[in-house]
Structures are given as C-alpha cells and as structure tokens.
Symmetry: D3
Subunit: 136 residues, 6 copies
Amino acid sequence: MGETVATVAMIEYADATPEIRAVYDDIMRVRKSDWVNNFWKVLANHPPTLKRTWDSVKEVMAPGTLDPLTKELIYIAVSASNGCEYCVRSHSFNARAKGMTPAMHGELMAVVGMANETNALANFYQVDVDDAFMTP
Amino acid sequence: MGETVATVAMIEYADATPEIRAVYDDIMRVRKSDWVNNFWKVLANHPPTLKRTWDSVKEVMAPGTLDPLTKELIYIAVSASNGCEYCVRSHSFNARAKGMTPAMHGELMAVVGMANETNALANFYQVDVDDAFMTP
Amino acid sequence: MGETVATVAMIEYADATPEIRAVYDDIMRVRKSDWVNNFWKVLANHPPTLKRTWDSVKEVMAPGTLDPLTKELIYIAVSASNGCEYCVRSHSFNARAKGMTPAMHGELMAVVGMANETNALANFYQVDVDDAFMTP
Amino acid sequence: MGETVATVAMIEYADATPEIRAVYDDIMRVRKSDWVNNFWKVLANHPPTLKRTWDSVKEVMAPGTLDPLTKELIYIAVSASNGCEYCVRSHSFNARAKGMTPAMHGELMAVVGMANETNALANFYQVDVDDAFMTP
Amino acid sequence: MGETVATVAMIEYADATPEIRAVYDDIMRVRKSDWVNNFWKVLANHPPTLKRTWDSVKEVMAPGTLDPLTKELIYIAVSASNGCEYCVRSHSFNARAKGMTPAMHGELMAVVGMANETNALANFYQVDVDDAFMTP
Amino acid sequence: MGETVATVAMIEYADATPEIRAVYDDIMRVRKSDWVNNFWKVLANHPPTLKRTWDSVKEVMAPGTLDPLTKELIYIAVSASNGCEYCVRSHSFNARAKGMTPAMHGELMAVVGMANETNALANFYQVDVDDAFMTP
C-alpha cells in the first residue's frame, strides 16, 4: 500500500481487490486518464463508500443542462467556502482541464468572496426575507 | 422606518438621507426594478457599508467571462453551503429571473450536495494532495 | 414546563430542581437581572452541562485585559459567521446593554463581512503563508 | 519552550509553572499516558483556559450513557465537518486506541459524508420542517 | 402539489410520477411508516437526485458495525455543527424513535459543544499535529 | 513571477503592471511597510479584485469608533471560527504589531472557543429566541 499522511493507508491498484479495481478502471475510463487520484485510493478503505461515491460523482458531474465546466466552477466555489484544500486543488485542476481561463478563475473568485461576505452580513443583522422571495 | 425582525431597523426610502437614496436609486436603475429588497434597507444603518457593498456587488455580478446566470448559480451554491436562508432565497429568486430552469435548479442542487459530501470525506481522512494538483 | 419549539422542553424556575435553581440564581445575580433566558432553560435538560457551561461563560466573559463590551462584539462576530440566529440576537442584545452604539454595530458588521470575504479568498487560491507570519 | 509552528510557543513540562504542571499531570493520569499532546502545551499559554478546557473535556468524555468510543466517533464527525485537521487526527488516534475498527471507521465516514450532503440539500431548498418533527 | 415555503413546490404522492412514487413507496416500506417527510417531497423536483439520495441514505444508515441509533446520533452532531435546522429536528425525531433517552441526548449535546469549542481553539493557535497522530 | 504552492502564480512587484504596482505601493504606504504579503500577490491575478479588496480592507480596518487593534481581534476570531490558516496567521501577526499582549491573545481565544461551543449548543436544541431579544 502507498505511503500516506492520510489517517488511513492508500490502496494502490496493485494491492486492490477486484471490487476496488473495477471502480478504479471505471474512473480512468470515464476520465480518459491513466491514473487514479488519492481521494479514491483513500476511500477504497471502505469499498461500499468508494463505489457509491464514485457512481454519484459520475452521475452528478456528467453533462446536463449545466455543462461540465460550470459544474466544476460550482464545486470550487463550495470547496473554497468550506475551506477544503484537497477539493479546491483537485477541482481547480479539473476546471483548468475543462477550459477554465485565468479570467474565469478570477471572476469566480470575486463571486465566491462576495457571496461569503454578504452571507455573513445577512446573518449579522438577521435580515427579514422579503415576501417577494418567498414564492417558490 | 419599517417594522422588522432584524436586529436593526430597516431604513425605508421615505426616511432615507440623500446619501442612502443615491444607493437605492442606483440599485433600482441597475436592476430595472421599482423596489429595494430588505438586505439593503438594513445595511443602510451603516451608510459606508451600504455603498461599498452595493458597488462591489454591482461590479462582481456584472457580465464578464462568466455570464450573470452562472454567477447567480455560484451565489446560491455558496449560500446553501453556508446555510444562509436570506441569501439562498434572494439569489434563487434572481436566478429564476435570469433564466434558471427547474432542471438547472435540480442539477445545481445535486452538485452542491455532492461537493459538500466529498469536502467532508476529504477532511475526514485528511487525504494527501496529489503532486499533479500542486502545479499552479 | 414551558412551551417551546426547541427539540426539548424548557425547564422553568418553578419546575426546577435545587441544583438547576442554583445556576439560575447565579445567572440572575451576576447579570443583575430578574429573568433567565431560554438558552439556559433548555440546557437545564442536562444539569451537568448547564452548570459547566454557565461557569465557563461567567469566567470567560468577566472583565479582563479585554473589556466586557469587546468580548460581546467578538461573540457577535463569531455567531454571525457561524449563522447562529439565537446567538446573534442574544449577544447583540447584551452588547447594546453594555454600550454598543449604532456606529460601533455598523463598523463591527463591516469587519465581519470583510473577514468572511478574505477568508474565502485565501482558501480559494490556497495562498502560501508568508515566512514573516510563521514566527510565534 | 518547544519549537512550534503554532502562533504561540508550546510550554514544555520542564518549563511549566506548578499550576500548568498540575493539569499536565492530571492529563497523563487520566489517560494512563506518559506524554502530553501539543494541544495542551499550546493552551498552556493561557492557564485559566488550559485548566477549564481540560476539566470540561475530562467531564464530557468520561463514560456515561454513551460509551467513550461512541464519544470519540462523534468528536471525529464534528471535526471532519468543521475541517479541523488537528482534531480529526488526534481523535482518530484516540478512537483507534479505544477500539475503533477499520470497518467502523469506514461506516463513520459514510454517515459523516451523507449528513454533510443532506444538510446542504435541506438548506438549498429551505425545506419546511414537518409538523411531526416539531414536538419536543 | 403541496403548499410550501421551500424554494420549490413539494410533490405530493397524489401528484407524483410512477418513478417518484416508487421511491416514496420504498421510503415507507423501509421505515415501516405511512407518510413521507418534506425533505423527499422537495427533492422530488429532481427525480435523479431523489432516487440517488434515498438509495444512499438507505445504504449508509442500515445496521452495520455501527448500530442505527449511533448513526442517528452522529447525524445530529454533524447537523448541529452545520446549523441545519431541518436536519437537527428530523434526526432528533429519528433518534428518539430508535431509543435515544434524554440522558443520551444531553451527553451528545455536551460532546458536540466541546468538539466545536476545541476545533476553534486548535484553529485559533494553529497547533502543530503531534508525530504520534500522523501514523495511519 | 514568484514560486508558489497557491493555485495561481504570485505576481511579484518586478513583474507587475502599473495598475497592480499602484495597489502594492498604496499597501506599503498605508502600512508603513517595505513589503507586500502573499495574499495580495495572489489576488493580483485578477486586478479588479485586487484593487476592490484592498480599497475595502483599507476602509474597513481604518480607525473609527472601534480601534484598529479591536478590529484585528475580531478578524482573528472570525478566521479561527472559519478555519482559515492564512488569515489566522496574518491577522495574529498584525494584532501583535498593534499591541496585542499574550494575555489579550489568551482571553480572545477563550471567548472564541466559548462562542463556537454555545453556537453549537443553541443549534443543537434549536432554542427559541426570547421575545426580549427580538426588539431591534
């Protein structure tokens, strides 16, 4: 198994069970990639969560009415707001691979910063929700 | 001044100073709207923050390499992750006005949910960042 | 016991055990007040936590090198960032009682908003900590 | 004092005042351990907080209607959701020492991930609380 | 469809498509219940997320090496830390149904409070992780 | 450009455009400093956000009814609650430069810890807000 500073060992392909390898193979097939990133090698310590999480990510991030790049931008926005270093770095990598330009990266940052600021301001004063915003 | 359950009173247009009215007027002009939502009426308790925040929001949410609808989607994503009711409701309203369909709303939810889940998973195991993700 | 929408009943003074009443009495004595707010009536469902939490709050919020009003401002700042409505409202009430003016309230809001924004920006780009900041 | 990257120095046993040593001794006695972890050496910069925090942790984590291992699992769950690396690592260490198996660790992760996802989903749509859930 | 204050309408059983009804039926079957709570009626606005989320929750919350009550306690702990009202209320309801006593509820609260406090303390001083905690 | 582990390159003064240099010069002038910290060198990847954020920070952190040191303490409190390492370290540095003593640092920590604990407790039981706290 791979050396790691994670709180569990990483399961490398060579050491993986057929059940785990099937997920790794699907990750590489869908991503047209020849490697699996550490997130999955760590989740592999609990095979049902590995499989369920990958199946969910694959479904959720597939092209739909929102394109894959927009979905990556949203992922970065949430991850930065939550302060998750791994997720910020991996999804920034993905977003660049899917066409995020430096200008888009900068505008995304601006929106994320402003949203976190105004979220705090609304909570600070406990602003009443306007009636107009209550209609579904 | 308006009745409110916020922790400060709301400053209505009729009661506002010229400095505050100038901001309210600009909000209605930019939004092609004839009303100002409660968030600004509450911020008006501190005029420098009212003006600075509005100027910032106006600049950040203007069309750029990301279109205004995409920016609203990102705003909802951050606000839901932070649990800010006011912001979720107001930006969902804005997003519908800018063309967010129910299908887009549903896909956005799916990405936001998945991002919050995998953020927690990465933090749970303290996954090592892959070298490939460390290159700017 | 009092009616409540909390997930447990509130323990009113009339229904309280001597152990709980001793804490309620101390709260009113320290605060020079003739009532106990709901937070404590709900915590009273677990008397050891009621006593420990009150003893801790009493110690932490007492005058020190930071004055009591500054401590209330810090409490509001944390509570707004965490989106805790009860805490924002109760500590805004406390802060006004201890002399927070509207101008101070407004400036506090401005700092809280900006801190939440720049926290998100620093996480967004995963900014390297400067060597100068690493010295204790 | 010990070298550190924390924002304050660590107070080692050899340099500690009798007041601080009394806490360190109690930590080692309760934990049947011959060392004190960094968290306490850093808190020792403010002796009242060192003592109060240790007394509280000792009381809260003692066996009760919830067993010590369950309490450690809850601690990990909160720490992962908050993204606190130190707390995730130290309580994962504690939990293993108290009998957490890899299977339990994996199931805990699955619940933590799912809870963070559905928390975000509920906030995303601002779901109405069912009447049945409002009864204490 | 049901009246709601959520940002989307609730899909009642009578108005649901066969695809949605199949999920609702499974929820009631697994829970031995004759009603479906609002969370699912709102998620039904995006049927793929309804189905995926339910399937995941069903798998994750099933008995394993952690019993169902322990899993509910963990769910409450995360939800309280994230400030999600809906989730706190619904999982407190579930936990009571699965045998959570008032004493367990109180001890759970104590651990959740202490974990959130020490998470903040560790971040406040940026405490160095002890070598002993770095071994997986 | 400077080497970095951030997700974008740092823009050093020597490589900066006149627009960026004008902000760097203003930062050094206001702070009476001869260097610019990494946060700004990274924000410089999106010049409008660099300028807007600096102008906002300069305005918000200037002396007012709250003194500059109090504002730094609030900044640290928010940053620790959000788990932002960069912000905790940089504002702890600033606060020391503005006169924060170790005793003040310790008391600040105590308040931040307690606020995060009671925020979680209030959310845990979903405590009803007292009528007295609802008056603005």
